[in-house]
């Protein structure tokens, strides 16, 4: 599903280039649950943003479902991202001025979903995440866990093939964090590919595979095993359910 080759990202000023990512090769299969780990400043979030098409690499190639993202124009890229990718952040990032209902509605508006369908999709999401009672509240009237629940709901509402999560439990207490992780697990079982960034080994344990970043280098044992595989061939590994 995802194939990165030689992805490099740096910030340049007049004298020095500060490298954030160096020559990253990565393949992610559809339905995989991948965790990216590494200390602060290792480039984890940058990698995630590049995967989410919110940021561009300076060098390298990025194929998403066979499409060369690095060659697309902004319009096409936004479309691709709009249809396929949901984002979840550490600090929830809901729009403060909108109610829970309106926050869930927003991605559908940009996707130009018809009003009737929109209503039913939002209603389903509210129902599924058990936040119907909160639908008219503003984000600052909710607890952190509830906000993150809404954020996940917002990511899921467009029925994405890929969810990118940037330390989704970082601001939550453990029961809340557990709830969110369980949710991810469930979504993954239903077929959604998930890539998360986290510091927590416990969260990482939910995933199929873990890669480590350090100072922009990708550094893990499986690396050597992967380049041979070609995700573009349509080989799909069916997930085994891992308990409920």
């Amino acid at each position: 599903m995802i194939r990165l080759r030689g992805i490099t990202k740096y910030y340049a000023n007049a004298f020095v280039k500060t490298f954030v990512l160096r020559n990253i090769d990565l393949d992610v299969k559809e339905g995989e649950f991948l965790t990216i780990m590494g200390p602060s400043g290792a480039g984890k979030s940058t990698l995630l943003y590049i995967l989410g098409m919110l940021d561009e690499a300076c060098e390298g190639e990025y194929f998403f479902c066979g499409q060369a993202v690095h060659e697309l124009n902004e319009k096409k890229r936004t479309q691709l991202h709009q249809q396929n990718i949901g984002f979840v952040f550490q600090s929830y990032h809901l729009i403060d001025e909108l109610t829970v209902y309106e926050n869930l509605e927003t991605p559908l508006l940009y996707k130009k979903v018809k009003p009737d369908e929109r209503k039913s999709l939002v209603a389903d999401a509210l129902d599924r995440f058990r936040i119907v009672a909160k639908k008219d509240l503003f984000p600052n009237q909710l607890s952190g866990g509830q906000q993150q629940l809404v954020a996940v709901a917002r990511a899921v509402i467009i029925q994405p093939r890929l969810i990118l999560a940037d330390e989704p439990t970082g601001n939550l207490n453990s029961p809340q964090g557990e709830e969110i992780m369980a949710l991810f697990k469930k979504l993954n079982c239903e077929g959604t590919t998930i890539i998360q960034v986290t510091h927590s080994e416990k969260n990482a344990s939910h995933s199929d595979r873990v890669i480590h970043l350090l100072d922009g280098w990708m550094n893990n044992g499986e690396k050597s095993a992967l380049p041979g595989e070609n995700p573009g061939t349509g080989k799909r590994k069916k997930k085994h359910p891992e308990g409920t």
């Binding site: 940058t46 919110l54 729009i95 991605p107 467009i158």
Partner: protein, 811 residues
């Protein structure tokens, strides 16, 4: 989608009440200015367009070539109208229009002087749209003694009685019958009159002159649709030249002189009359001009005020942009998020535009309230009579909509383009950023705002100084305690008796008379001749018939020679007094000109040279003037009252008048009042400029205040750190103020040259002008700096006095 935008916009407005207020209020004031000017311009542009034939109606005008330059005249000879209609095929209709002067109109006990009586040809009703309430437009002026009056006049003379068929008397001698009642003329008509009489009445009054070389009245023409104004003008010039040549050529005396004088014959054969042109009726209001100068046409004010209003609106828009981008820190996250959930840049731009248009709509509502509140003030300044009803119509509402959209789009443009460019990866990761990015542009915009304000302030100062200068300009005579009395109807024939009786009163210092309004002698001609004059050259010289004691009464100083005196028989109609300008044309010193031959209608001699004095408005240059004693022409008596006893002496003059003319009401005007009126246009321009400049400064300061409070907010941490490091509160205030002071100083430096060039240019339109004073610039600079610092200091002091612990604890 749009709903969603509006929701966010509305919630943002409510959440940040203070800034929203600054925004909406600033925009509302700017828009109110723009609306006032828009309504004013709409009104100016609407002049004379109510005529159904407006597009094909013209006034015949001419340019006369003279030794002093081109002289533009909008009067024409009496017989021109019928000649045009008869001989030029492009001309469908022509009418003459003459004001026969003040007429005493009497119906039984009701007798009033009417100055707005116009003598016209009957086809006026076919050409123009002056709807009749009663009477048949085709025949209403056909009979010689018919009279058409306006509704107002009907009410004034006949009350509620039926006006049609009523008989009135004009000047106690001529009987007229009301044959038509017309609707009152709309206010946006350049032609304004209350009564119409058949044109031949001017002949009855003895005012007619059948020469085609002398100009007295207006001629209006209607062209056939395919007629072309420029070619028709050329045809008129040819027609008039040929007629004049025929007119002069038929003079047997001239024929004889030409036989002995080949040079004269050559001049006669090469004679070319004035260049005629057609001025479209709809341009009359804004492009009319007269005399040597084309300055101070109405259009210049329309353009100037449109630009000024646009400037004020721009200042308000800049406030919006600045506050919006300053707040971008807060909005960046939202933009990032919207992009994360799939928004394209275009939709973000759309969102910010809808936000600015929403704000503009709120501001429009507020500005409408402001417009209604300040309508009386505006009417007072501009001389218009706008009402709520006149604003509540399609054109004005369209104007409001246009101004609102303009404001929304201009004000929203920068925030929309700037904010929508945020990269989600950056704004979401870094938490806060973006604030510094727009800083340079924000600074430039503030500089622009203050630059414009400074420009307006300096402009205001220069206009005020010029008006002051004109008011205090030495006129060359003493205008205090001078009054003049119009000698209406038959009163001029008893002027001698009036003068004699007035002079018996010790409170009356002196009495004289003229044939034209004494404060603006407008009549001139090119027929004067003197020894040594280039016969091929024509010079326009002002002429006035005056009584003895003219220089003595006005206290005009003599440059050479003597004043008119009854001791010399020739002084009654054969002697001339001229001003210094005439002697300049003659190429002589004033002293040398005395005793020289001066022929103008009558063969005469110059007996005295008056020092130059302003016989017209101080706006125009003093032009040559020659005066002669001609009692048959007197229309105004001039009386100098005793200084210090003005009310009592005025009372005496009134009593004398009533004794001499029991049947004519006493009317008088002070010279002073006339001069006050002459500068009214400049003064109201000055007042409007004052209002606009003041508003511009206020709006700019509102913006500065908002910006300062944001800067203070953003720099809280910096200020906290500085205080930990030992900075004092005054030090912080200074640090804070310095940055704003820099911008205002820069604005001054940029605005000064522009202001200098613009005001210098404006002053060129005046023959006598004040200077562009350097201290005006210094004063404006200091003033704006102080105002800006006062505005900023409130925020600066608050920031400086805040407890640093509070600001740092949460970082």
């Amino acid at each position: 989608m749009f709903n969603n935008y509006l929701k966010v916009a509305w919630r943002n407005i409510i959440l940040h009440k203070g800034y929203s207020f600054l925004n909406v209020f600033g925009l509302a004031v700017g828009m109110a200015c723009a609306l006032f000017v828009l309504f004013w311009v709409q009104d100016e542009l609407s002049f004379d367009r109510f005529h159904a034939n407006a597009g094909t109606l013209y006034r015949v005008e001419q340019d006369q070539a003279t030794g002093q330059g081109k002289f533009h005249v909008n009067l024409t000879p009496y017989p021109l109208g019928p000649a045009l209609k008869a001989e030029i095929p492009e001309i469908k209709e022509a009418t003459r229009a003459a004001f026969p002067g003040d007429l005493l109109v009497r119906y039984g006990e009701n007798a009033f002087f009417e100055s707005r009586v116009l003598a016209v040809d009957p086809q006026v009703f076919r050409m123009f749209t002056f709807p009749l309430l009663k009477g048949d437009p085709a025949t209403v002026l056909n009979r010689p003694a018919s009279l058409v009056i306006s509704e107002n006049m009907a009410r004034k003379y006949f009350g509620s009685a039926e006006p049609m068929g009523k008989n009135v008397t004009i000047n106690n001698a001529h009987a007229f019958t009301v044959t038509g009642v017309m609707k009152n003329l709309p206010l946006n008509s350049s032609l304004s009159f209350d009564m119409l009489v058949p044109f031949d009445f001017v002949k009855t009054l003895g005012q007619y002159n059948d020469s085609l070389g002398r100009n007295f009245i207006w001629t209006f023409v209607q062209l056939h649709p395919q007629g072309h104004a420029a070619t028709t003008g050329a045809k008129i010039s040819r027609l008039v030249t040929n007629r004049i040549v025929a007119e002069i050529g038929s003079d047997p005396e001239l024929q004889k002189r030409m036989q002995g004088d080949p040079a004269l014959r050559k001049r006669f054969e090469n004679y070319r009359g004035p260049d005629f042109s057609l001025m479209p009726l709809v341009d009359l209001k804004l492009f009319a001009h007269f005399g040597f100068s084309r300055n101070n046409m109405g259009i210049q004010y329309v353009v100037a005020f449109s630009i000024i209003a646009l400037f004020v609106l721009l200042i308000a828009c800049i406030n919006f942009m600045n506050l919006a981008t300053a707040r971008s820190v807060n909005r960046a996250r939202e933009v990032g998020l919207r992009k994360v959930v799939g928004a394209r840049r275009r939709s973000i731009i759309g969102q910010f535009y809808s936000e600015s248009i929403l704000t503009a709509l709120l501001a429009a509502a507020a500005s409408f309230v402001l417009v209604l509140l300040f309508l009386p003030v505006f009417n007072g300044l501009s001389g218009k009579t706008m009402t709520l009803a006149s604003l509540w119509q399609g054109k004005s509402l369209l104007g409001i909509l246009a101004v609102t959209l303009f404001t929304g789009i201009v004000a929203g443009s920068y925030p929309a383009l700037f904010l929508s460019s945020f990269q989600p990866a950056k704004v979401l990761k870094a938490g806060r950023s973006g604030g510094a990015k727009g800083a340079l542009l924000r600074k430039s915009l503030v500089v622009l705002q203050f630059g414009i304000s400074i420009l307006l302030l300096i402009g205001m100062g220069v206009v005020a100084r010029q008006v002051d200068y004109m008011r205090n300009k030495k006129l060359g005579y003493d205008k205090d305690q001078l009054i003049y009395l119009p000698l209406r109807g038959e009163t001029f024939s008893s002027y001698a008796a009036l003068k004699e009786q007035l002079l018996r009163n010790p409170r009356v210092m002196n009495v004289t008379a003229t044939h034209q309004e004494p404060t603006s002698i407008g009549s001139n001609g090119g027929g004067a001749d003197w020894d040594g004059k280039d016969p091929g050259q024509k010079f326009l010289i002002g002429n006035a018939s005056v009584d003895f004691d003219y220089p003595e009464t006005l206290k005009i100083e003599m440059a050479a020679g003597r004043t008119f005196s009854r001791k010399f028989a020739m002084d009654s109609g054969k002697s001339w007094m001229v001003n210094e300008e005439v002697t300049k044309l003659m190429g002589l010193d004033p002293a040398a000109a005395v005793g020289k031959r001066f022929t103008w209608g009558v063969e005469g001699t110059i007996v005295g040279v008056m020092k130059n004095f302003h016989y017209q408005s101080v706006r125009s240059a003093i032009e040559p003037l020659a005066v002669i004693v001609a009692p048959e022409n007197f229309r105004f008596a001039i009386v100098r009252l005793k200084a210090g006893e003005v009310p009592a002496s005025l009372q005496d003059v009134r009593k004398t008048w009533q004794r001499v003319f029991p049947q004519y009401p006493f009317e008088y005007r002070f010279f002073d009042e006339d001069f006050g009126r002459m500068y009214q246009a400049d003064e109201s321009m000055g007042s409007l400029l004052k209002a606009f400049a003041g508003l511009a400064v206020i709006i700019a300061c509102l913006g500065l205040f908002g910006l300062a409070s944001y800067t203070a907010e953003q720099r809280t941490k910096e200020i906290g750190v500085r205080k930990f490091l030992g900075a004092s509160s005054p030090g912080i205030v200074l640090l804070f103020s310095k940055q704003f002071a820099k911008w205002v100083l820069l604005a001054n430096l940029l605005a000064w040259p522009c202001a200098y060039i613009l005001t210098k240019n404006w002053l060129q339109g005046f023959a006598y002008r004040s200077t562009v004073a350097w201290w005006l610039f210094a004063l404006t600079g200091a003033g704006t700096l102080i105002i800006a610092l006062l505005t900023v200091s409130f925020q600066a002091v608050r920031a400086a006095r805040a407890n640093p612990v509070d600001s740092l604890r949460y970082e």
